[in-house]
């Protein structure tokens, strides 16, 4: 069975939020304390299975420092899905979310799927952002929300699969040009949003 579709994803968020760790966990199912700073832009590939179909995910990981946006901005347009990542132990990374979201609205295609991720949820004692606050932000953004931990492998697989399914059904629906399907899809998605919001710890 061959790959039937390639999905391009982008991971953005403040420097140090754990973007590369999330990606490493998803790709290699591993975690490292000795992570190297991402310079410019990096990318990884993983193939996932949805409804028995193989979907190749091409995931672009970005440097978080603001000045690198003049490099990373070019990657928004081609992205079908974008993860906006913050660190639950770092309020500044949470406060910058609106700016990241504005960037998404400005640069990406209109139908892009966005998922908000609150990373490092294993560090409960250092937590600055409650899960409710994260969820409220996701509601404001009208997007799915996951709290994740790359260290303890929480929520990451779900986040990526939700993203992949969302895009797969969305593009499939538009391809088949079936309005009915589209409607159903919208319903499933909104169901997912309410039920699939994942918490941890």
């Amino acid at each position: 069975m061959g790959v039937i579709q390639q999905i391009k994803l982008l991971i953005i968020g403040e420097s140090g939020a754990g973007k590369s760790s999330i990606l490493l966990r998803f790709i290699d199912d591993s975690f490292s304390h000795s992570f190297i700073t991402t310079i410019g832009i990096d990318f990884k590939i993983k193939t996932v299975e949805i409804d028995g179909k193989l979907i190749k995910l091409q995931i672009w990981d970005t440097a978080g420092q603001e000045r690198f946006r003049n490099i990373t901005n070019a990657y928004y347009r081609g992205a079908m899905g974008i993860f906006i990542v913050y660190d639950v132990t770092d309020r500044k990374s949470f406060e910058s979310l609106n700016e990241w979201k504005r960037n998404v609205e400005k640069l990406s295609t209109k139908d892009v799927t966005v998922i908000l991720i609150g990373n490092k949820c294993d560090m409960e004692s250092d937590r600055k952002i409650s899960i409710e606050e994260g969820r409220a932000k996701a509601n404001e953004f009208n997007c799915n929300f996951f709290e994740t931990s790359s260290k303890n492998n929480i929520g990451i697989e779900e986040a990526f699969l939700t993203m992949a399914k969302d895009i797969y059904y969305r593009t499939k629906a538009s391809e088949e040009d079936a309005i009915q399907l589209k409607k159903e899809n919208v319903i499933t998605l909104s169901n997912e949003k309410s039920t699939k919001t994942s918490g941890c710890c």
Binding site: I36, T37, T38, I39, D42, R67, N70, A74
Partner: protein, 655 residues
Amino acid sequence: MDGTDSNVTSIDVDEFKNCELHTNLPDQIDANYSQKTDPEDTLITLHSGLDMSPDSTMETVSSPVSPVEEPINFTKRTSSLKTDENSNLYKKQHSSEKKSGWGSLFTNSFLKSSKIGMQQQSDSEAEEGEDDDEFSEESYKRRSAKNRKSVLDMNMLLQKQEHLLVELDNASHKLTLEALERENHKLSMNPKTILAEAGAYRTATETLHAITEGSVLPQSNDDIEFWNSIMNDYSSILHKIPQLLHTKVRAGIPTELRPKIWMIMCDAQPERMKLLYPNLVKEDSPFDRIIKRDLPRTFPKIEMFKDVNGEGQKQLYNILKAYSIYDSEVGYCQGLSFVVGPLLMQKVSEIDTFSILVRLMEESEQKFNSNPNKPNGKQFRPYALRSLFTPQMVGLHLMLFQHTALVKKLLPELYQHFNAHNINPTMYASQWFLTIFAYNFPFPLVFRIFDIIFSEGAILTILKFSISLLKKNLQNLLEKLEFEDILNFLKGDILFLSYNGDHEKAVKDAMSLDSVINEEVLSKLKREFEDEHSSAELSGMRNLVAQLRSDSVKMLSTLNELNNRNIKLEKEHQNFLIFKKSITIEMDQLRETLRLERIETENLKQENVKLQKELSEIRKLEYKKKFDGKVNGKEVGFYSENEIGDLGDSFVGRL
């Protein structure tokens, strides 16, 4: 080049002898010389029977059968084949140099001289002359030891080389002579060709190394002198013998000398930094947070930087923080820690690393001319890495543009291949450029790249390596047909694996691009970039102007519409006002009417009351009249006065 370098010892030994005999040298040199007794003594013994006049010494030097040069002179081809013409030329130059004094020998020699061997000679003479202040007895002891050993090997070498000499018959002498003449001509036309010959000399040296099977050759001794001379007067070497400098540096600066040589080559200013740095380290930086975040993420696998509280991370932090305050526009940019790391790894001290970083970043020529001890300021070109790290990263975009243009020009197939698979250099080369390859490549090579950067410039060197690496892996890259395979190949250290750890080859390959990647080519590309940039900016501005125009047209029409509506509303308002006024008047009239009517009603009421009273009076009167009439008849005396009034009232009521 190494081959010719190896001439030096033999020649300068002769020269020393010369010096002793013709005491027209500075005392200092004599003192020098006398310190280095042993090898010279031995050599003098070997030289017994030589004519000690300067000229004849010269001849001895250039004579193919001179026993002295043999142990060291691997490139027999060069020095042994000098004809009378050459030696005459040499004599002439040499004697003029002698006249102008020992120091000027060095500075006048290289570009003028057409003989590499001779250049080497005067070079080393100068080194001898200039080293002593800086290089202590220890260095000479080392030299002496080495020389002694080399003298021991001489007899053996002599035999071997004589054997080699036999192979050079007269015909080949002639041929080589012609070749040398051609080289001389080329050199006089373009001194850079010397570099091209370096390989040939190296081969000759290597052959001899192989022949002599590891016997200690005075080569390293010679090298030490070269590096010493760099430490003493880098600016002269850079000016007078840039080719030799480049060749030596490209072959690699000895690890133990790197910190010092790097400092000198980039003209770092430790004195100035000694005043500045301690204060900078004490200050708070707005970039503190992100710098701290990046410390454990810089070379996390390298022992020196592993420990969160270790010296490596502490030094990194201090340097990066100090720089972020020193250059507030750049502040801190991710990637900088990877530039600083390799310097620290080569045991450059913290403050010196900071001084070097400042130099690597600086763009302005003026700052480079600030050292009053340097005779003419323009000798140290700015490395200008700064613009790569400024918030707009213009320098990075320029470099990516230059890189792309070079790939297009030099590796057109690869350019097509990349285009076909949507690979763009931002994806792989930004990391190379922003970290000077330290992000991906083996450190020994990174240090070698640093060596070359300091002597030849940063942007140029980095671009040469970037193209060279692609060129080396051309076939590998062309064979890969998937986007991710190509990009993964480009992003790892896998690119370098094709060299099997051969750093020499990697450097050599990159440097072989001299003729196609040089300052002129880069300047031209820079102008193109700026044109494109400004034309893009211009078209952007034009678009903006057009946009503003159409906006203003739209706004004007909206304004008109609003005006019209306003006029309409104004009219309506007027009408309304008029209407309102008329209504008010009407209301006033009605109010007046009402008032009048109220008054009338009141009057009527009063009249009514009055009339009632009158009526009641009249009735009373009438009743009285009646009553009076009865009293006068028979009914008088039945009703009192009041009773009569009441009767009157009831009567009215009935009415």
